[in-house]
């Protein structure tokens, strides 16, 4: 770009001869950069471009929207809210008292499969109103301790669940302490449905974040029990429920993967669930739901993306039409200086 244009080559010659005779000249050395004359692309929003852009967006968005919507519709989801139903009716006015008592918490639920469900079927528990993203809660963990056997004492951020009389708690902190401890057993036609609990957590977490040689210590030994207990002989990297739980959820309502059912379920099949309703969400009026769901390429059942894409795509198509009309009804010659304000209205300024 330097030598190709006549202007810069002229300037080049100029600067060459200027070196000898006027060394003292402070004349700025010419370059297209310093003179702000670098070549540039100047896109202008011409009608063609505008309409083209809108059409392009709608062409991309509408198909994606349709596909997403179909994908979402294909997902079969069974949601069963059980936190109230699993308390004997007589005790429902003191739910917290019930959950803290030693009574049997076993509860039977029946689910009807609305549509055929292809395996893998994911089993989730869903907690509403459980602020796993609460600041006090989110911070209450020690990632060092989870990774490394040598960092047992690294319980700084874990207060108040950092130590008990016997020393540091592993895993420490409110998050681990409040580990979810409802359990589900599934039977179909009185046959056990196997729920696979392997591979429900991230591989990266198992390999790098939770140590293979870190074992639970003093866990749930405090006066106040938060949730599940952990087998002290299983390394943290194998405690997949804990690993899943420790991935704090982004939103106050969240699902966590409980396991996978690796068989297909047929429409109208009845599934019996035996669940242990141990977890206390009653103290903050949180809901508990059991969710069985298949997935699509887009994730779970959520029409929003499809609808949003269709809306945006449709809107852009509409806008393309609107602008087409505007350009047709009120055309304007591009680059006509007579539109300049002082040309339209000579005394205007």
């Amino acid at each position: 770009m330097n030598s190709s244009t006549p202007s810069s080559s002229a300037a080049g010659a100029g600067s060459a001869d200027s070196t000898a005779p006027r060394r003292n000249s402070k004349r700025p050395k010419y370059s297209r950069f310093t003179q702000q004359e670098l070549p540039a692309c100047k896109p202008i929003l011409t009608p063609k471009w505008v309409i083209g852009t809108f059409l392009l967006v709608s062409v991309i968005f509408i198909p994606i929207g349709v596909v997403s919507l179909f994908a979402s519709r294909d997902v079969v989801e069974i949601v069963d809210r059980y936190e109230t139903d699993c308390i004997p009716e007589a005790l429902r006015n003191d739910k917290v008292g019930f959950i803290q008592s030693d009574r049997s918490k076993t509860c039977q639920r029946t689910l009807r499969v609305p549509k055929d469900m292809k395996q893998p079927i994911y089993v989730y528990y869903q907690l509403d109103n459980f602020y796993q993203n609460h600041r006090r809660y989110v911070k209450s963990r020690s990632d060092q301790q989870l990774r490394n056997n040598g960092s047992l004492q690294d319980t700084g951020p874990c207060k108040p669940e950092d130590n008990v009389a016997g020393g540091p708690i592993v895993p420490c902190g409110l998050i681990a302490w409040s580990l979810f401890n409802d359990t589900y057993g599934f039977t179909r036609n009185n046959q056990q449905l196997n729920v696979s609990k392997r591979g429900i957590s991230w591989k990266s977490d198992r390999e790098h974040k939770f140590g293979k040689n870190v074992f639970p210590r003093n866990f749930q030994n405090g006066t106040l029990k938060g949730g599940a207990t952990l087998d002290p002989d299983v390394a943290l990297s194998d405690q997949e429920d804990l690993i899943v739980w420790m991935r704090t959820a982004a939103l106050p309502t969240f699902r966590k993967l409980y396991g996978k059912i690796e068989v297909d379920l047929q429409r109208d099949e009845i599934i019996n669930v035996t669940l242990q309703n141990n977890y206390n969400t009653y103290s903050f009026s949180g809901k508990k739901k059991l969710v069985l769901s298949t997935t699509s390429w887009l994730g779970g059942k959520n029409d929003f993306v499809g609808i949003a894409y269709l809306t945006v795509g449709g809107l852009c198509f509409f806008l393309a039409l609107v602008f087409l009309l505007i350009y047709l009804i009120k055309p304007r010659q591009l680059g006509d200086p007579s539109y300049l304000s002082w040309n339209r209205n000579p005394s205007g300024h």
Partner: protein, 1238 residues
């Protein structure tokens, strides 16, 4: 001059007698023989001269007021110069006698009278204000309580040890950094630690570090130059001998010897010079930029003594405390029990260079940092740009937002806590109590009130980017970039003075795009201040070059032959043939008259002829050096008619009159002063007559001219003068008369007593001058053209089209000003002129009322006509003079003047004093929001330059005070056009877009953070990692806005020049205003909603983790923000592409890096979520949905209500503008062929 002084050295010298020059022979003694120092100098009843030596004026070169009549301000220069001016009244020196013009022992009388007279009366320096300097006795001088500064200088700010604390201290002067610091400190408190400690300190540390490195580097360079400077060597008197000493070791009281062409190490009082009469020449380029030589004198008393090194001691100099006044110095010296006073002409200042003098010896009075040069080493004045002031308003709005958001969060949190107060004990995610100890304690719960307060502070920390601190830093970077381009702009390089454009103030670049009023000085700004002799009226006949032959084509003009050398004036002047012819006929009456006229031109001045060698060894050029360009022009004119001033020494001048070289003795000289408005010399001619030559302004000259002598001639001359001045010429009237011997003697005695008077010397001298300047015979008048600078009319035209009002403020008189007004196209014949020229307040009031009436009438007429097309025909021009302004400014009439002047297209103020200039600027500045720009070149413009919003100094002929006081300086007036219309426009557009954009990009992040807070129980969890939110304004989004702020151009150069009206966008503040701010905030709100809620809803009821969603959000925001910028970029350079897309890429990389640390909770989150398709679908959806409204509005406005800039941009692209654009720029740009690449 040089030659003269050397000759004099060999000549025997006279003992000087400063005060009482006698008439008879004085027995003289060669100085280098034994000077009888015991002769009581003052009482010597001397008539020293056997010859006709004359005293030259003490300070003739330095004195700008000797510029005479038309000099720029009629009443006093800037304040700074007042003292100096007083001094100049007195400079005439008495010493001389005239008699036979025999061989000439060159001699300068003591300069005592002249320099002592600086200050119209003898001022005693109070002891407490004085510093005592014992000459050659540094020990005593510097003894205990008077420890004067040594001569080592330190321009560096820091030493190795003090660097850190001092630099930090200075950096924290900026309010922005304090904000940073407070936030960072808040974040260190354990209860408030929202961010990781490292992350929160990082931005501040980074900024501090970068600035510190920059400062350290600059300071290192200063250290280096200081070291070089301090280690230079000077010759200092030690134990009776001169020996080398480093500059830094020189101290006050020491005697220093400086050789020719050396630089002065400190301020010294001259004791003696190589010239026997004590004269020396210095060049003050380093000090004030003036390259002409200035004369400085050693006192005759010390001149004699100092030759004997041993006797220097014992002198005591009592001088004022160090001060910044370069042109003032007050001191007295005790010598042999007698006190003589010292003035500015006796001191040479650090940084000056000694020229044309072999050596000087002086005593150090101020050293090191106390020298005037160092005291004047102040930085550029700091102003704040209007955009920045405006921006502060929006910043306040943003702070209110911030407070509002924080209040909402903290109160909601309070409500949440209260609502859940019964549950807090057991809640898994809160845990109000610590059960781990046997005794149950509250855990980090401080009660509702405190919790609310803490949450408030925490939310301030989280939302801190709401106040766009990074904006301040990026704006500064952008300004540096813009300044770089302005400085480098080829079109603003002035070849003639070899000066580039200079940015002295870095923070008002964008103001250049909003100027509404330009106040311009005339002389040296519109005009070149290079005077060219145009025409003369001699003896009532007008010789106006009617049949001029141009001497430029091959003809070399007049030259003389001396000792085989050809001497030629450096500048040739067009010669009128008739006049040339007449000048050769000396026998006729007219010839004699003309001869007197030309002698007057050659003699009645303070010009020093210098011989300059040329490449041709046989030809030497004579260059006339002097303070006043008018005088130079006159002397050059005289030379081209054969009256060539070839030599000036102390008491005489030699004029080569067509081959003969008579010697004229300069017997006395009455300096120009602003009351008399004329100057005179008293010349002893070779034919033994004494003549007084006077030149001055017509107003005062005609009062002292004897009209009875030749009334017709006077009448004719008057009409010529009128004609000249209406042509825009500067006129001078020249008169003379002969003095009889008795009259001369009478003058001499009164002159002597006046110049030795201790009290009221200036007045006495003025009286003497007035006595002698009367009954003059009119010789003629001269017309000097003050040449317009190149391209001025076109520039003014352009500025006017751009909607800028150009006012010219000049010290010139009305006719001249008006004529310059016409020639510069400031005034046009279509305009109705309103002239206000009054002598009392009442008449001013009446004039103003009348003018307003007139305006109303005119506008009624134009209204009753078709309102459309008449605007051009009824333009008003206001011409007002300084006298009227005295009655108007700072009275209630100001309001009327403002009303009137705001209606006028052109305003011309003539005969205004410097302070009035500032007053006029203030008149506009205080009443409107419009931006003002003042441009000038001289000391008299300083006040106006400092007053105006933007001050521009022309680095031209008149010294550097204007440049020193200015914000920008450049070589030519016409550069205003590229400066304002192009760079100003660009700067304004760029900075204003940048500010809005920066608000937007920070607020969008804050809003997203805020939305998330609503879903976390109002507890300020940030999904976006600490590091990302810190890096957001440092890496993710900062570079593109800086690059665009420096490089983007909304319109090309040639378009902007072709349509100066486009400048109006800046004047109207179209690119940054309150409305745009609110639109931006609305847009921001929408974009933040899409960026936050699309992922939120898409991931509702899902297993997504907080870090993964945070990564999605930050990426969405960064892409959104960068694409938003990309949508607004007008010109895509390679570097813009790199910056914009590179930033997005960099963000991805950073997010990946952050998520690759296993000890962070968000480990691997990005990689996990990026595997899902929903993530990418969300990103795409956010970007499109976020930008659609903006795009629609943009397209819609551009099509249906396009701004001029948009139309011009389209026109530029589609080729309707090119072609003739280049030719139109030619008057303003003298560039070689170069295509305007847009």
């Amino acid at each position: 001059m040089m030659k003269g002084s050397q000759q004099q050295q060999q000549r025997p010298l006279l003992i000087p007698s400063p005060r009482t020059p006698g008439k008879e022979e004085l027995p003289y003694t060669p100085v280098n023989a034994s000077i009888d120092a015991s002769i009581p100098v003052s009482s010597m009843p001397v008539k020293p001269y056997s010859d006709s030596q004359i005293e030259m004026s003490g300070d003739f070169v330095r004195n700008p007021s000797s510029q005479s009549i038309q000099s720029k301000s009629s009443s006093g220069y800037s304040i700074k110069e007042v003292s100096f001016r007083e001094g100049s009244d007195v400079i005439v020196n008495p010493v001389v006698r005239y008699g036979s013009s025999g061989s000439n022992p060159g001699r300068y009388g003591s300069r005592g009278a002249s320099s002592g007279g600086f200050g119209s009366s003898y001022k005693e320096i109070k002891d407490e204000d004085a510093r005592l300097v014992y000459v050659n006795d540094p020990v005593r001088t510097n003894e205990k309580r008077f420890r004067f500064a040594g001569n080592s200088i330190r321009t560096s700010k820091y030493s190795f040890l003090t660097f850190l604390p001092r630099n930090l201290f200075e950096q924290f002067h900026r309010i922005a950094y304090i904000y940073f610091l407070v936030i960072a400190i808040l974040n260190q408190l354990p209860q408030l630690a929202v961010f990781g400690r490292g992350a929160s300190v990082l931005p501040l540390a980074l900024v501090l570090f970068v600035t510190a490195v920059k400062d350290a580097y600059e300071d290192f360079r200063r250290h280096r130059s200081d070291r070089i400077e301090n280690n230079r060597v000077a010759s200092v008197l030690l134990n009776g001998e001169f020996g080398d000493k480093k500059w830094k070791d020189i101290c006050v009281g020491e005697v220093v010897k400086i050789s020719g062409n050396q630089t002065l190490p400190c301020d010294m009082v001259l004791l003696s010079t190589s010239d026997a009469t004590g004269v020396s020449y210095v060049q003050t380029t380093n000090l004030d930029g003036e390259s002409n030589l200035k004369t400085r004198y050693a006192k005759q008393e010390t001149q004699a003594k100092a030759s004997l090194l041993g006797e220097i001691g014992g002198l005591l100099i009592k001088c004022e405390k160090p001060n910044r006044n370069v042109y003032g110095f007050q001191a007295n010296m005790e010598i042999d029990g007698k006190r003589i006073s010292l003035g500015p002409s006796n001191i040479i200042l650090r940084g000056c260079e000694l020229k044309n003098t072999d050596w000087v010896i002086g005593v150090v009075v101020y050293a090191g940092k106390e020298t005037k040069a160092m005291l004047n080493n102040a930085g550029a004045p700091s102003k704040r740009s209007r955009l920045e002031k405006h921006m502060n308003k929006e910043i306040i709005i943003l702070s209110l937002f911030l407070v509002a958001l924080c209040t909402v969060v903290s109160l909601s949190h309070g409500v949440w806590l209260r609502r859940h107060r019964e549950e807090l004990y057991l809640m898994q995610f809160y845990r109000k109590y610590d059960y781990s100890e046997p005794e149950v304690e509250k855990y980090e719960y401080y009660g509702l009130g405190m919790e609310i307060f803490f949450v408030f502070l925490m939310s301030v920390i989280v939302f801190q980017v709401m106040i766009p601190i990074s904006l301040y830093i990026s704006v500064e970077l952008v300004r540096i970039g813009q300044a770089y381009f302005m400085i480098r702009d080829d079109r603003m390089f002035d070849k003639s003075t070899n000066s580039r454009f200079q940015c002295r103030a870095l923070n008002i670049n964008e103001d250049l795009g909003q100027i509404k009023y330009v106040f311009s000085d005339k002389t040296g700004t519109l005009t070149e201040n290079k005077m060219e002799f145009q025409c003369a009226s001699v003896g009532g006949v007008d010789y106006d070059n009617g049949k001029a032959i141009s001497t430029e084509d091959g003809q070399t003009g007049y030259s003389v032959q001396v000792d085989g050398m050809v001497l030629r004036p450096k500048m040739t002047v067009k010669v009128d043939q008739d006049l040339l012819h007449l000048s050769k006929m000396k026998h006729t009456d007219e010839g004699k008259h003309l001869c007197d006229f030309l002698v007057a031109l050659a003699a009645c001045n303070t010009i020093v002829p210098l011989t300059v060698e040329t490449s041709d060894s046989a030809v030497n050029l004579i260059e006339y050096q002097g303070e006043s360009p008018d005088e130079q022009a006159l002397v050059y004119a005289a030379a081209s008619y054969g009256f060539m001033l070839v030599e000036r020494s102390s008491g005489h001048i030699v004029i080569d009159i067509q081959g003969e070289r008579p010697r004229f003795n300069v017997l006395g000289l009455h300096e120009f002063d602003s009351d008399r408005k004329r100057m005179s010399v008293i010349i002893g001619c070779p034919d033994q007559t004494v003549k007084v030559f006077v030149k001055g302004a017509d107003t005062t000259m005609f009062k002292v001219i004897d009209k009875s002598l030749n009334l017709n001639m006077v009448k004719a001359t008057e009409s010529h003068l009128h004609a000249y001045s209406s042509k825009g010429l500067r006129t001078l009237v020249i008169g003379m008369r002969e003095m009889s011997t008795s009259e001369f003697e009478q003058w001499q005695s009164s002159y002597d007593s006046a110049s030795t008077a201790l009290m009221g010397r200036a007045n006495l001298l003025r009286k003497v001058a007035n006595n002698v300047e009367n009954n003059l015979r009119l010789l003629g008048a001269s017309g000097i053209e003050d040449k317009l600078q190149q391209g001025v009319p076109e520039a003014i035209e352009s500025l006017r089209t751009a909607g800028i009002k150009v006012w010219v403020l000049t010290g010139d008189k009305q006719e001249t000003a008006i004529s310059i007004g016409y020639s510069s196209k400031l005034l046009t014949s279509k305009m109705t002129q309103i002239v206000i020229n009054n002598n009392s307040k009442d008449s001013c009031r009446k004039s103003l009322d009348d003018a307003l009436q007139l305006y109303k009438k005119l506008s009624n007429v134009s209204n009753s006509n078709d309102a459309g097309h008449v605007a051009g025909t009824n333009q008003l021009a206001l011409i007002i003079d300084g006298t009227s302004l005295v009655y108007i400014l700072e009275t209630e009439l100001e309001e009327k003047l403002f009303e009137l002047s705001s209606k006028c297209t052109a305003v011309l103020c003539c005969r205004v004093a410097p302070l009035q200039k500032a007053g006029i600027v203030a008149l506009i500045k205080n009443r409107t929001d419009d931006m003002t720009l003042a441009i000038g070149d001289g000391a008299n413009d300083v006040s106006m330059i400092q007053k105006a919003d933007v001050g521009i100094g022309i680095s031209g002929q008149e010294g550097r005070q204007a440049v020193m006081a200015s914000d920008f300086s450049m070589g030519q007036f016409r550069f205003l056009v590229p400066l304002l219309l192009i760079h100003g426009h660009w700067n304004y557009q760029r900075i204003s877009y940048m500010i809005l954009y920066n608000f937007y990009r920070n607020v969008v992040l804050v809003f997203v953070l805020f939305w998330y807070v609503l879903f976390t129980g109002f507890t300020l969890t940030t999904a976006i990692t600490d590091w990302s939110s810190m890096l957001y304004s440092i890496i993710y989004t900062s570079l593109p806005t800086i690059v665009v702020g420096i490089l983007d151009k909304d319109l090309g150069r040639s378009t902007l020049l072709k349509y100066p009206q486009l400048y109006g966008a800046g004047q109207r503040g179209e690119s940054y205003n309150g409305k745009l701010f609110w639109y931006t905030i609305l847009d921001t709100l929408w974009q933040s909603i899409t960026a936050f809620f699309i992922p939120l809803i898409a991931y509702w009821d899902s297993t997504v983790g907080v870090s993964a969603l945070g990564d999605l959000w930050i990426l969405a925001i960064v892409i959104l923000v960068n694409v938003h910028l990309a949508m607004d970029v007008v010109r895509w350079y390679t570097i813009t592409h790199i910056a914009v897309w590179g930033s997005i890429l960099a963000t991805f990389i950073c997010v990946m890096v952050i998520d690759a640390w296993p000890f962070l909770p968000g480990y691997w989150a990005f990689f996990m979520i990026a595997k899902t398709k929903l993530f990418w679908v969300c990103l795409l959806g956010i970007v499109v949905a976020g930008l659609v409204p903006r795009f629609v509005v943009k397209v819609f406005v551009q099509h249906c209500k396009p701004s001029d800039i948009q139309i011009a941009r389209v026109a530029e692209k589609f080729g309707h503008l090119q072609g003739d654009a280049e030719t139109e720029m030619n008057p303003i740009f003298d560039l070689p062929q170069r295509t305007a690449t847009t």
